[in-house]
Amino acid sequence: MTLPHYSRASRRDFLNSCGSGIGGIGFGGIALASLLNQELAGAPRRPHFEAKAKHVIYLHMIGAPSQLDLFDEKPELVKRHNQPCPPEVTKGRDFAFIGKTSSLGGSPWKFSKHGESGQTMSELLPRLGEVADELAVIRSLHTEEINHAPAQMFLHSGFGRGGRPSFGSWVSYGLGSENEDLPSYVVLLSGPAGGAGTSLWSSGFLPSIYQGVQFRSQGDPVLFLSNPQGRTREDRRRELDVLGQLNQKHLEATGDPEIKTRIKQYEMAFRMQASVPELMSINEETKETLEMYGAQPGKASFANNCLLARRLVERGARLIELYDADWDHHGGIQTALPMMCKQTDLPIAALIKDLKRRGLLKDTLIIWGSEFGRTPLQQGAAKGKSLPGRDHHKDAFTMWLAGGGIKGGVSHGQSDDFGMDVAENGVHVHDLNATILHLLGMDHERLTYRYQGREFRLTDVHGTVIRDVLA
């Protein structure tokens, strides 16, 4: 029954429980977020400075879409299609699967300029083109990891292995929740989870109340959401009352803060039994809205998830992440990529338009991207496959931002003529994460949490806010 000393209540936990009055006021805001009473984890908290965005919708295309076929036009590659790559271009680089002698691959798709800003996109994204002036496209992203799971971890937690909190957990930790009846960090999947699985929405060493909560897209959104047969809501309430008191006694005896989390989460689950079915009932949307997204009630799809993301924003969720599977086109890119774009292009454009017409886009930051990009080198071509693909590429890829606090119609950064490396204004994943926190009103250098003897940050000891994309 004795807890090891490190999991007993720390001085910090003691201070937490000393009452909520001191929260954030006169102590430099949430740099001392950990001083806040955990009871207040649900309550909205004051950011470091004025936030430009209150909500984030993160669209993660698992596997890595080819930037060279969607956003980053490379005439040089088209010209040199099927030719060997000059050795100086691949010198010092590692690839996940292919050798350096693979031939270059030009994009088979046509690019054109869209909107007043003239954002370049390929013909695979006609609907996104319609909202080009809302987007800030960054074509100079680079990361540290070359394989899916580590790269997904790195993007989400600033670290290529497990154990660190995801950005969604950092955001919940920093800002709390606006809605007591729903989690502040919600995850929706279309297709299987990425290689790194549920650790991508893990709270790591932060209290587990900040963990992301996954909703299923089909059937009960949360397993066993309804009460078992013969059990009423009143029965459940009575059970939770006595359970809460028993757990409270245990908490007082041991001081383990995780018990607090459990009590709070049981209560949240009780409220979610009512709030989640309401949230998920997209059949109450107008026919026009459903068609706009291509959403179909009762089906599981990325389109439905985009619509749910908007409904979550309306209900105050802080961070909503949508994962879409099957973007890992090592082969057969010529048929696979258009298919994936067809499933996602319409709903993403609809999400931006819908948020805008409802006045929510100015408060909602949308991020589109993946754990890395794809190589200018072809994969599978040498073996005589009719439909080659591209390998993983970490040194130059594309992501875009839109909405809250973002300057629309901006292009930031460039890759070189081969799309192999950054040519101008490189943006490291840490810079991206620093920018996300900045838009939410937080200084990435001050949002810290003490663990195992030192302060930790989402951005480790790196990261610079990308001022060029800010409105």
């Binding site: 029954m1 807890l3 999991s7 397993l223 066993f224 078992p228 013969g230 009423t232 009143e234 029965d235 009575r238 059970e239 009352d241 006595v242 359970l243 008191q245 028993l246 757990n247 006694k249 245990h250 908490l251 041991t254 383990d256 995780e258 018990i259 459990r262 049981y266």
Partner: protein, 92 residues
Amino acid sequence: PVYVEAAAALAKRVVKDMANESLDAQLDYAFQLCTARRPTDSERDLLKDFYRSQVKAGKNRAKGATKTAAEADGWRGVATVLLNMHETITKD
């Protein structure tokens, strides 16, 4: 769901194993099965009150419900609570 079924099984086991015992002894037994310790007096009181209100609710809900059925309902509630205690789950 496994927790619902496990609670139903635990409830049945308590009623069967402790058929002729006092309510206090039955609660102690159930508590001990989950946590490997006896409840404190205040913990036992909490569970006792809860059990009684649950039995009462069971009687009110199904008119003419037998005493046994209402009591089974009460034990199902107690078992659900015990299995969901932080102490039962983490055994720390």
